[in-house]
């Protein structure tokens, strides 16, 4: 029989230690790697101008996401983020699906980041003369180290993210000023911008990777139960995060398209690092390499944080086995969820191809954004302004929700053009999971206890 120190009625919860800076670091940390690599495949799909259009349209999509998210999460401030929102506003089946979207989007992104980090170390080994350098040990080390950090406490985890994300962001600024955009010494946009090589269909196709500039900013909501003041810190961290990303994305596009022809840029692995190499400055090369490594690490770190919170919340409500709803009494983290998701990430990072892993992550994210548009319309309809407390009210409702739905539809089509089979396979997976939940798991759910918000009855009920 196990020894116990429990006093009857004693409770433990996640630790409220985070501020707006940590929320910013969580959101921007997950995303900034998209500026360092990945976004440039949009250039390959439709040329440099198409990538800029995709960058800004995706920017509008994510601004809508950030505004909607800030309002809803400042009210439903609970770990699990959009899962908790869906539970309170739409219903259990939607909540279960949204929880799965979150876990898969972040775990796949974590695996993709670990693969990238392994590749970078392997490349350095190759450049140093070790032709047989392996990536696998570093893939595994990335996942194990970050899981360990997350296990030990959220404050250290997100302070670490704050530092490395800030360095990676500053590196982009340094590169931007170093290429002197006001002189034309390095920048050759006049010669390199060649219109739309694949026409407007190329612009649509570019949307698939245009999302890469911002994918994951909505993850700020997962910190809801660990911030000192959810109503202030979450909207502040999220909105400053999306502003940071809009600036970083536009600067990145400007630097890279002014230095490299679109045919090369469209298939480059590390475009910002390549841009630094073209300046012939060793200091910039080292700085942008560090930026690339740090942004990748920050992204994987934030993904572990977010995926584990979503899994934990579902366990706590018994949407999944209750064991996952446990909190570590010393470190105050969802330790079982963190440990459980380690082998899942390892399997995908070890065996799955990078593009498949990324596509699975993007599609799960897209499903989540589609839900968010519907969710906020239901939220405003059931609980109009003035009926419950809101930390932030987003403007122009329902325009952001409608724009979000339209842009999501266009992006589904863009993904379908390149990865139709994966899109269908993933939908089948979520349908099967939904059937399992509806016919088997739902009987275990705490139906009354799961609704924790002190709200009045919704309008019409």
């Amino acid at each position: 029989m196990s020894q116990t120190t429990t006093i009857h009625g004693e409770k433990i919860s996640l630790l409220r230690v985070l501020g707006p800076g940590h929320v910013w670091a969580l959101g921007v940390g997950i995303v900034l790697v998209g500026e360092y690599m990945g976004w440039n495949f949009a250039v390959g799909k439709g040329g440099a101008i198409a990538a800029l259009i995709a960058c800004w349209f995706a920017g509008v999509l994510y601004t809508c996401v950030a505004m909607i998210d800030s309002e809803v999460t400042s009210t439903v401030a609970a770990a699990g983020g959009q899962y908790a929102q869906a539970k309170h506003i739409v219903g259990p089946l939607m909540a279960f699906n949204v929880g799965l979207f979150l876990v898969f989007a972040y775990t796949m992104l974590e695996a993709a980041n670990a693969i990238t980090l392994g590749y970078l170390v392997q490349t350095v080994g190759g450049m140093a003369g070790f032709a047989e350098a392996q990536d696998k040990p570093f893939i595994v080390l990335t996942i194990m180290f970050l899981a360990w950090l997350n296990y030990r406490g959220v404050y250290a985890t997100l302070t670490f993210n704050l530092v490395i994300t800030a360095i990676a962001f500053i590196a982009i600024w340094v590169l931007f000023f170093s290429v002197q955009p006001w002189t034309g010494t390095y920048m050759k946009h006049g010669e390199l911008l060649t219109g739309l090589p694949y026409g407007w269909l190329g612009v649509l196709a570019a949307m698939h990777f245009g999302m890469w500039f911002y994918l994951g900013i909505e993850g700020t909501t997962q910190a809801a139960e660990e911030v000192r003041s959810p109503a202030r810190a979450l909207p502040l961290g999220t909105m400053t995060g999306i502003i940071t990303l809009l600036i970083a994305a536009t600067m990145t596009w400007y630097i890279c398209t002014g230095l490299m022809p679109w045919e090369y840029l469209g298939q480059a692995v590390t475009p910002l690092f390549d841009a630094a190499r073209l300046t012939d400055s060793t200091v910039l090369m080292v700085l942008l390499f560090i930026g690339t490594m740090f942004s990748t690490l920050a992204s994987a770190n934030g993904c572990i944080n977010d995926a584990s919170r979503a899994w934990f919340s579902m366990g706590r409500d018994r949407y999944l086995p209750q064991v996952f709803g446990a909190v570590h009494p010393k470190y105050r983290t969802p330790y079982r969820s963190i440990v459980f998701l380690v082998p899942v990430a390892l399997v995908f990072a070890y065996f799955a191809p990078l593009d498949q892993v990324i596509t699975f992550s993007i599609l799960s994210g897209l499903l989540e954004y589609t839900f968010m548009a519907i969710n906020v319309m239901m939220f405003r309809q059931k609980w109009p302004l003035g009926t419950i407390k809101r930390g932030y009210v987003h403007p122009f409702h329902p325009l952001p929700a409608i724009v979000l739905l339209l842009l999501c539809s266009a992006t589904y089509f863009a993904v379908f053009l390149g990865y139709g089979t994966q899109l269908v396979a993933m939908m089948v997976f979520y349908i099967i999971a939904s059937l399992w939940f509806a016919f088997h798991r739902y009987k275990f759910v705490r139906r009354g206890a799961q609704f924790t918000m002190p709200w009045p009855k919704p309008v019409g009920y």
Binding site: S2, Q3, T4, T5, T6, E10, K11, I12, S13, L14, S74, A77, A78, A79, G80, A84, G125, A128, F130, P137, F138, V140, L141, M144, F145, A147, W148, Y151, A224, E225, R228, S229, P230, A231, R232, S313, R316, V323, G325, A326, V327, H328, P329, K330, Y335, R336, V339, V342, G386, T387, I388, K389, R390, G391, Y392, V393, Q450, T452, M453, P454
Partner: protein, 61 residues
Amino acid sequence: MHNFQLLEYAAWGLSALLGLWMLIDLIRTDRTYSEEMLTSSQEGEIDDTLILDAPHQGGQK
């Protein structure tokens, strides 16, 4: 064996150590505390931290 191979072995070793540390701590924690306490966390408990500002934030006074 060259230097990079040493680095690879170090990465494998460190990964195993970190994994082992988490597993041991998890088992030790599970054996020390009751399941009731470990899973006692509840959603919410944030109401007092929300900002009330009806004119600007759409909330109630």
